[in-house]
Each structure stands twice: as structure tokens, then as C-alpha cells.
């Protein structure tokens, strides 16, 4: 069972946002077609970015293919227990520097990658897929394995697929974790005290 915590406002959220959660286990029998994978990347592709800089790239491994087999050894002990059974593993890359310099490619490279991964996640939800993003992997190892040059960073990974428990997908509200209350994320205009 998931802990459910929500406000009245949460009930008004778009279903794809309301039902979103990050599975802790994936159905190892589910496979994702290449058309669906392309659609996920297409969603990321059309995300907005500062000056249309598009500071993102993706290493995509479908379970059973060569790229997937090359990604799995770089998972950390924690993610290695659950991530390989997802239908797809994606390494999310951000364009951090101008090539051969220490100059930022864009002040918003990480922010924009976050937007792109969110867009991909939204499209995944529309396909009844769920996404768990994580950092528990060997960044340098993945970069070396796929010859990622130093001006790009392997920032996060996403595991995408069907959760093990299909009933987890059908609920009216899928807010598995606590969040700070709405009043706390709207900046306190009057008190303006530090957090």
C-alpha cells in the first residue's frame, strides 16, 4: 500500500499528474516497442529550453538489447536490485560546457534537462508507463563506456516500464510521498523569513 497524502487541490490535478509515481519495482515481463521509445524521446525533444539550446541527449537501452546490457554493470548496488527489470533504461545527459572549455554551455543545462525528463515522464504516463529517476549509478563508468566527452555530463538515469503490481496503476490518486504544504512553497511574502 502507498501512503496517500493529498490536499483538496491535488484532486483537481490532471490525471497524468495525479497518478504519477516512481515505482520501486518493475514488471520484468513487460517490453516496450521502439515506436513507444521514440515517442518518449519525441516528448523530451519538444521540451522548452533557454534560447532553444536543447542541452540534452539520451542513451537508451531496451531490456535485452546491447545498450541495456552495457548500462546495467554501472548501476549502484541499490539500483541494481530493481532497475534492470524495467523495460527501458535511459541515461539522461546534459550539455554542461562549451567543448574544450570550462565555460557553461548554458546556465540552464540542468534545469532544461529536468524539464525534458519531465516531458518524457508525462508522455510515459500517457502510455500507462511509469518512470523512476535515479542517481545511483557510476557516472564516470557510463561516460567512459559510451565515449561521452567531458563537456557532456551523464546526469541521471530513468527506469521506465510497468510497475509489478498492476493495481498500483489504477487508483484515483497516486501520491505516494509527502510534500511540503502548498503554503510553504508559495514564498512567504510578508514574513519572508529564511527557510
Amino acid at each position: 500500500m502507498h501512503t496517500r497524502s493529498y490536499s483538496m487541490h491535488a484532486l483537481g490535478l490532471h490525471p497524468l499528474l495525479r497518478r504519477r509515481f516512481s515505482p520501486s519495482s518493475f514488471d520484468s515481463a513487460h517490453e516496450l516497442g521502439s515506436d513507444e521509445v521514440d515517442l518518449l524521446l519525441e516528448a523530451a525533444r519538444w521540451a522548452p529550453s533557454a534560447g532553444n539550446s536543447q542541452p540534452w541527449a539520451f542513451i537508451v537501452g531496451r531490456r535485452g538489447d546491447d545498450v541495456h546490457a552495457r548500462l546495467v554493470p554501472y548501476l549502484a548496488g541499490s539500483s541494481a536490485t530493481w532497475a534492470p527489470s524495467a523495460s527501458v533504461l535511459i541515461a539522461n545527459l546534459s550539455h554542461r560546457y562549451v567543448e574544450d572549455t570550462s565555460w557553461d554551455y548554458s546556465e540552464f543545462a540542468l534545469y532544461d534537462l529536468g524539464q525534458a525528463v519531465a516531458h518524457l515522464t508525462f508522455q510515459a504516463q500517457a502510455l500507462d508507463l511509469f518512470v523512476r529517476r535515479f542517481r545511483a549509478f557510476d557516472r564516470r563508468g557510463v561516460a567512459s563506456e559510451f565515449d561521452v566527452p567531458p563537456h557532456w555530463e551523464v546526469t541521471t538515469m530513468s527506469a521506465i516500464g510497468r510497475p509489478c503490481d498492476p493495481s498500483a496503476m489504477g487508483g484515483p490518486l497516486r501520491l505516494a510521498r509527502q510534500r511540503r504544504p502548498l503554503a510553504a512553497i508559495e514564498w512567504r511574502i510578508r514574513s519572508a523569513s529564511a527557510e
Copy 2:
């Protein structure tokens, strides 16, 4: 008219992604209710973040209210021409440092703020609202005006409302800008040449 550029894949995107665009002008007669504003913040609130760190906060001004009037003077010359007519202006804050230190609060503060702003944008689209995010404003000025302490950053702003041209909202595909092709954002596994 918008320049339309799309692939076959783009036609399969969820309508809220397919129709999303960043308006260059907003209908100054449109107003947003406080319930709708709360729903936008609720969408951001439930975004995922590294270790559930939720490194975001929002300064929200509805056109006509005091916060809006205090935000507008800090718009840059470019954004001052179009942003004040949006129904809502939001300053998007990221929790960059542990208070009174130079330690990162989270390696993913910007990435996670990007995700939260994207979630807010999806919810806006679901309410037939459109969002333009921008950097053209005086960060220090806004921080000072609202007593934002140094461990928080005023990272971006969002203008939210109805576009001036209502016909811009109805199209089947709303992809106003060019993007790199799909093949370019999937990391070239074999050639792996630097970009």
C-alpha cells in the same frame, strides 16, 4: 502564423505536449482565479525531486495584485513589453545552498526546479493556459524586493495566461520552433563523436 516543424512521431504526442508553446503575447483581459493558481502550484508541489528534497518555491503575482506590481519593475526591457499582460507572473526559486554555507543544498536543485516548472506547465495546459518561461529580469532586484535569503536563488520567471490570438490555442499541433532531430538527441552509440 507559427512555423510548424514536426515529425510523424510528434503527431503521437499527448495533446497537452503537442499543443504546448510559449506565447509571445498574452491577453490582458484574461484573469486567473486563485483556485486555478493554487492548482498550478499544486502541480509543481507534486513534482519528483532527488531524495524528495523539493528545492523549489514560488513568488506568485496575479495581474492587479500587490505582488504583481512589485515584480513588474524588475522585468528587463525585453520582457517588460509582453510579460505584464499575462494573467500571472511567477518567480521560480531554487534552494541552492545550505543556509549560511557555500554547500549545495542539492546537486539537483536546478534540475528539480525544471521538473517542477514543467509539471506546472502541464497543469496550465490542462486549464487552457499557456506558459512562457524567461530569464530577462533583475534577479538581485527581485531577491531584494522579497527578502529572498542568499541560499535561495530567483532562477527564472514564468508568465502564464491566454495568448492574444485565441486561434493559436486550437491547432492540432503547436510546435512553434525547430528542434534537433530525434536521431541527434539519442546519443550516437557507435560513432560517439563529440558534439
